[in-house]
């Protein structure tokens, strides 16, 4: 007999890395319009989604966040020309890597929300928080632990787009 655990009381911690120019402004607009969304979300302001190092995401999961969002400007709209494009490539690859270690896909999401899309901000936050609430607290798989432990530096750095095909020379 299977016991379906009810997670209705569970309050997840969801961290959202938000680009200052788009999603962070969208969140401000949601506030201005007095929209309601789950209080589980915590915004961490960055200048650009391209500033988000996969390392931060890994650290967040490792230290107890139940879900992580990375939000940037819509493709083609980056305030800094191309940052979101790099973020997209990097985070998509990283997401698959995390899923490979056993992380549920819902726990790590990448979304594009502009400064005028207050409604979209509310909807995304609500959806993500609900999905993670339904999943329950994050349980680290053994492979995630191993990955977070020692894979962190090497693997994550290897994800950064190398426009120049060069060997990574480890520094002393």
């Amino acid at each position: 007999m299977s016991v379906v655990e009810s997670n209705s009381d569970f309050q997840p911690t969801v961290l959202a890395f938000c680009c200052h120019w788009c999603t962070y402004s969208g969140a401000d607009l949601a506030g201005l319009n007095r929209m309601n969304y789950p209080a589980n979300i915590r915004l961490l302001r960055v200048p650009c989604s391209g500033r988000v190092n996969p390392q931060y995401v890994l650290t967040a999961f490792n230290k107890g966040c139940d879900g992580v969002l990375v939000c940037g400007c819509h493709p083609g709209d980056c305030h800094y020309v191309s940052g979101n494009y790099f973020a997209k490539r990097r985070m998509m690859a990283f997401k698959r890597l995390l899923e490979y270690t056993g992380l549920e896909p819902e726990r790590f999401q990448i979304r594009w929300i502009s400064g005028s899309e207050a409604g979209k901000f509310r909807d995304v936050v609500t959806q993500v928080c609900e999905e993670i609430r339904a999943l329950g607290p994050l349980k680290h798989s053994a492979s995630f632990e191993a990955f977070a432990e020692q894979g962190a530096l090497g693997t994550v750095n290897a994800l950064t787009p190398a426009n120049k095909a060069e060997e990574v020379v480890e520094n002393d």
């Binding site: 401000d28 309601n36 961490l44 190398a162």
Partner: protein, 660 residues
């Protein structure tokens, strides 16, 4: 050990209504290195700010957290406030407990708990804030304007009238752009040349404007205040200093070529001034068609020139100069309809022409001296079909956008045609009529009163039958097929970006939209700025527009340049990337990813493990760096970091949220 002060704002009841501000201030007192907390009704008010200043002095605070509205609202206010204290303005973090808490979460307990988390993160971050400083960038008070159409001329004149020198670069032999090719201009039907050529003359004679025609910008490097620009001036084969512009050479030249200015409808010589009022009013030799330059024979122009101004040995020259600001004004071109519209004959029928060709037929100094004659046999067309939106609003063939000026100039064309040709019939195929603008709708109504027949629908096919051009189309209002047997067809074709838009845009880091129009920094609030400092947009290079809008934008761009030049120095961004040269492994990933060319690899020599080593390390140019942080993530050895959003700070925020 840092000494943090946390100040919680009530924002009247905006925050205090749904967040327990006292509990929040109390909780903050327990965070590491927080030595003082307080709460106020309105922190941003003068008294609120004064109380922070007092607390800084009294408690010897060296950094502060303000829990209030969004940092997008008041971060600058508080930075300014810190300028008059001992605390560096960048030793400040703002926790957004209004937009992100009190306004969106109704439950006071839940909101307060979240507010505590947000202040926690801000306190963890501020603990690792470092004092930051700006540097002063000198400004070269000379402007470069690229493109000598009405936009470029207006901008150049305004900047020069403000007292700053301008160089105007135009790739054709004369200034004027498309406007000088037009016959009359809507909605007032002023003669285009009569209002455009005086502007050209003003530009030509302005002591502060240097004109470079037949010239193109080859390379641009640098940044606001300091652009290094290389301009290639093509060989003209005529010495403009001695040439008097008498025009004798032109009359004697035996080589005839189709005229670009007349849109292929007339002829010019191989040595030519494109039109009578050209500025500069001196001829150039078209090397591709000159017999002397091609075959070594002829040289008539040289023989007849009384002042010996012909230079067959002339070569292209390049020069590099420094400018403080650049205005892009290189305009538009018309879509290549022949390529896209096989159903309209694809160029097969001589009497299917585009709008700019029609302008030349209307013009008294055009190839037909203003008599409307069809190109094939010179006959006066008694039935004219005008087709709008050829290439515009047609995502399957051309472009999805509206070219904005065509509804009006189609009405203008119909009006002029009906005015000039007795007993004429004019049919206009349209999708919608968009005539928003002062006096525009009235102009359109007048054209209808003149007798133009507007048919709502696209033309699906044009073919020749019994000497007529049969236009088969649809009248969507009556729901019937229509057939117009026309003597001539005018296609009002879409405006598309100039050839060079992509090259120049990417050279300057100015983004292009999906159709390659240059993007403004903000569609509403910063319509003439670009995302690259010191580079402004004027006219149709930014998107289709008519002359009034073009001129308005050009003057606005000139104003932005004048504002910039009014200062002697610019303050650089303080929150920029910095590289730790001892960690840098010279891989160059940062240089490649930087969208502003702000990072270069530079050679350094220094002692490492007691030997002298010479190697390349990355260096950030503080005037170019915009602080996006792309390089920091690309850097594998972790040598790059972003001031104000450092790895350490972000990691501490994550830590604080999860573990404190």
């Amino acid at each position: 050990m840092s000494r943090i002060g946390v100040f919680v704002c009530h924002c009247g009841s905006n925050i205090a209504g749904t967040i327990d501000v006292e509990q929040l201030a109390q909780a903050a007192r327990e965070f590491p290195h927080v030595v003082h907390t307080d709460d106020y009704k309105y922190i941003c008010s003068d008294t609120g700010q004064q109380s922070i200043k007092d607390a800084i002095a009294e408690h010897k605070l060296d950094r502060i957290v303000i829990a209030s509205c969004s940092p997008r609202m008041h971060e600058l206010t508080f930075r300014k406030m810190l300028e008059s204290t001992d605390v560096n303005p960048y030793m400040l973090e703002v926790a957004n407990i209004r937009e992100q808490c009190s306004w969106v979460h109704k439950d006071k307990d839940v909101g307060t708990k979240k507010a505590i988390d947000l202040v926690k993160m801000a306190a963890a971050k501020v603990d690792h804030d470092a004092p930051l400083f700006t540097t002063a960038i000198p400004i070269n008070k000379r402007a470069l304007v690229i493109g000598g159409g009405i936009a470029g001329m207006q901008a150049a004149l305004d900047i020069a009238d403000a007292g700053y020198p301008v160089t105007l670069v135009e790739k054709e032999p004369s200034l004027g752009g498309k406007m000088v090719m037009l016959d009359k201009t809507f909605p007032t039907l002023d003669c285009s040349a009569c209002i455009c050529t005086p502007k050209m003359a003003d530009v030509g004679s302005h002591p502060l404007i240097t004109i470079k025609t037949l010239s193109e910008v080859e390379q641009i490097t640098g940044y606001v205040g300091n652009f290094e620009v290389t301009i290639r001036e093509k060989a003209k084969y005529v010495d403009y200093d001695s040439c008097t512009g008498c025009g004798l050479c032109e009359t004697k030249c035996p080589s005839k070529v189709t005229s670009e200015f007349n849109q292929g409808l007339g002829l010019r010589k191989a040595i030519y001034t494109p039109f009578a009022q050209a500025v500069p009013n001196k001829p150039t030799i078209d090397a591709a068609h000159c017999r002397k330059l091609l075959e070594g024979k002829c040289g008539v122009c040289e023989k007849v020139c009384a002042v010996n101004a012909i230079r067959f040995d002339d070569v292209d020259t390049t020069s590099t100069e420094t400018y403080g600001a650049i205005i892009l004004a290189f305009g538009y071109q018309l879509i290549n309809w022949q390529e896209l519209y096989g159903e309209y004959g694809g160029g097969l029928y001589q009497d299917v022409i585009h709008g700019l060709q029609f302008e030349r037929l209307l013009n008294a100094s055009g190839p037909t001296e203003g008599h409307i004659q069809r190109p094939s046999d010179g006959a006066e067309p008694k039935t004219l079909a005008i087709i709008k939106c050829v290439g515009s609003r047609d995502p399957h063939k051309g472009r999805s956008y509206c070219s904005r000026a065509c509804c009006m100039y189609a009405a203008k064309h119909a009006h002029q045609y009906l005015d000039k040709v007795d007993g004429a019939k004019c049919f206009i195929f349209y999708m919608d009529v968009r005539c928003a603008g002062k006096g525009y709708d009235e102009f359109y109504m007048n054209t209808q009163h003149d007798g133009a027949t507007y048919l709502r629908g696209r033309v699906s096919k044009i073919y020749e039958e019994n000497g007529k051009l049969v236009c088969l189309g649809e009248d969507t209002l009556s729901g019937s097929q229509v057939r117009v047997d026309a003597d001539m067809v005018v296609l009002e074709t879409a405006m598309v970006p100039a050839d060079d838009a992509n090259r120049i845009g990417s050279m300057l880091g100015v983004t292009r939209d999906k159709d390659l129009w240059l993007s403004e920094a903000h569609p509403k609030l910063r319509p003439v700025e670009t995302n690259s400092g010191g580079i402004y947009l004027a006219g149709t290079c930014q998107g289709p527009k008519d002359i009034p809008d073009t001129v308005a934008q050009a003057s606005a761009a000139a104003m932005k340049v004048a504002i910039l030049f009014n200062k002697d120095e610019l303050e650089s961004n303080a929150m920029i990337a910095q590289s730790n040269s001892s960690l840098c492994n010279s891989c160059g990933a940062c240089e490649a990813i930087c969208p502003y060319q702000a990072i270069t690899l530079e050679e350094i020599t220094r002692r490492e493990n007691s030997v002298m080593v010479t190697r390349k390390v990355s260096k950030v140019n503080p005037s170019l760096c915009q602080g996006c942080g792309a390089c920091t993530v690309a850097c594998r050895p972790g040598a790059m970091d972003l001031k104000g959003f450092s790895d350490e700070q972000i990691m501490r925020e994550v830590d604080a949220l999860c573990q404190w």
